[in-house]
Amino acid sequence: MAEAAISRSRAHVREERRKRLGPLSILTHLALLIWTVLVAVPIVWTFLASVKSEDEIFGNAWSLPASLRFDNWARAWEQAHIGQYMVNSVIVVAFSTFGTMLFGSMAAYVLARYRFRGNRAIYLLFVSGLAFPVYLALTPLFFVVQNMGTIPLIGQFIGLNTRGGLILVYIAYSLPFTVFFLAAFFRTLPGAVAEAAFVDGASHARVFFQIMLPMAKPGIVSVTIFNVLGQWNQYQLPLVLLTSDREKWVLTQGIADISTAAGYDADWSALFAALSMAILPMLIVYTLFQSQIQKGLTAGALK
């Protein structure tokens, strides 16, 4: 009887509040729409400019293209080497994210679930990397990578201006967050299944790859997304480590270079096409996986 009264009064309050928010909700949507416009318009404007002619771009920024000039896109892809840069980015990020996840999850697993002397110290060594500004390390890092290049045999693959060198650096600088996040995740997993497997004679490595890693899948997915985006968007490290060899440049370098190096004779419509090419794949991937991506990127802050 009393419960019914309470639930009725709750429904009543809810009703009341909705009414009160009625005119407010128009203002609410208006405010939200303003930010939507602020976010969307520069991007849509870039897409439009990418199919305009040079005269249209300079005549009036808000004019619509008279005809859709997709030859801008062709020029950006071929002559501005955006295609090449994009392939480079894909190669680097594919290897570096795979390496980050493999080595990061191995280290995190051992640190989270095995007791041994020095465990805490190694864990803190990794986590302390979260607080260091990368700019402090830039100069010595340049020389470390240069020195790696002088190692006989493998040096030519991991020195300056090599993809291998950049990949190893990406992996190393992604480890602090990856280890921090995954160690916390591995700690929460139940140990019963692993113990049963040990009783059945499975090795430590086998338990990790076949039992614990699959159990940690939600955490692995989040951190993978975090690392793919972080490494794909990286600009500072390639700027230092891939200076002289344009053939190996990644996408962010290529895009930034078109605009900084461009003088008055620059191909502006190709610049807009190049920008659109950098934005469009992100837009598509993001739209497809937006809830996972939002979860993956905010996971670190919610921990």
């Binding site: 309050v13 405010a31 830039l138 700027l239 837009l283």
Partner: protein
């Protein structure tokens, strides 16, 4: 068994620790040493000069301008971003039709708001360089010129360029925090809002008395993240502004000066000294932020 266990632990840690020590720990350690040398690159070997670099740094006007810009960003970027994000997160979630779904269309808004976050900051910088162009081809200046007004030198006016940088940084960051705070608000039990509403609380009171205190932990994390990001600003300045930190050093930041001194002037010792200063700013800020914002945690 025990033997195999130790071998496994060592085997699994060997590569990650080796990579991390070679590429991360060793460079950081070396940076502190290089900061006390006059090293100028490949030709000469580093010569120990004591605190010479730091003394020169103390009188380097450009560097202190950069520090000033970083500190201004450190205050304004988190403040603006968090206030705007909280405002939108509250709008998206309060006034929901019961349940925790948020207002009509809230999912759409969250998807759009978050999008800048997935773009590379270098790409965003090039994009806004075009948006801010000073002539008819600029997205913002074209309408002004059409109305017969003076075009605004978003990137060419020394009084305005810094604010353009701030605007771009906030533009990119807001969506992330809207999503973060929305998740936080959604986890607050609805009974609390309802109980307060029964007692006659209005929208503003709901926000300041319930939403804000219960989100405090999340806001604090956001504050630290954004503060560190503000100290590490580089790509926007380096790619978007004239003279990479200009015009007339009006937008330069510590990271840009470090990069310029190291890789354009090849003053490795001097650049490392700047890096050490940046390091202490970062550590100092993190310690201060955690100290100041420590409050009793509200469990719910």
């Amino acid at each position: 068994m025990n033997y195999g266990r130790m071998r496994f632990v060592t085997g699994f840690l060997a590569i990650p620790v080796a990579l991390y020590v070679i590429y991360v720990i060793a460079p950081y350690a070396q940076a502190f040493y290089i900061a006390f040398t006059d090293w100028r690159g490949v030709s000469a070997s580093p010569r120990f000069v004591g605190t010479e670099n730091f003394r020169r740094l103390a009188g380097d006007g450009i560097f202190w301008e950069a520090v000033g810009h970083n500190l201004l960003l450190l205050i304004l970027m988190p403040l603006l971003t968090l206030v705007i994000a909280l405002f939108f997160a509250f709008l998206l979630n309060a006034g929901g039709r019961g349940g925790t779904g948020g207002i009509w269309g809230s999912k759409f808004y969250r998807v759009v708001f978050f999008f800048p976050q997935v773009l590379a900051i270098a790409v965003v910088a090039v994009l806004f360089q075009q948006v801010f162009r000073p002539d008819r081809s600029g997205m913002l200046n074209a309408p002004l010129i059409a109305l017969g007004l003076e075009p605004v030198g978003f990137l060419s006016d020394t009084d305005i360029a810094f604010w353009s940088i701030l605007g771009v940084l906030v533009w990119q960051a807001v969506g992330f925090y809207v999503v973060l705070f929305s998740a936080g608000i959604a986890s607050i039990p609805r009974d609390m809002f309802e109980a307060a509403a029964i007692d006659g609380a209005g929208g503003a009171q709901l926000f300041f008395r319930i939403t804000l205190p219960l989100l405090w932990d999340t806001i604090q994390v956001g504050w630290v993240y954004l503060g560190i990001a503000a100290l590490d600003v580089f790509a926007v300045v380096w790619v978007m502004t004239a003279e990479q930190g200009g015009p007339d050093h009006s937008t330069t930041v510590m990271a840009a000066e470090i990069y310029r001194n190291a890789f354009q002037y090849f003053k490795f010792g001097y650049a490392s000294a700047m890096g050490v200063v940046l390091f202490f700013f970062t550590i100092g800020f993190a310690a201060l932020a955690l100290r100041l914002s420590r409050r009793e945690r509200i469990e719910f």
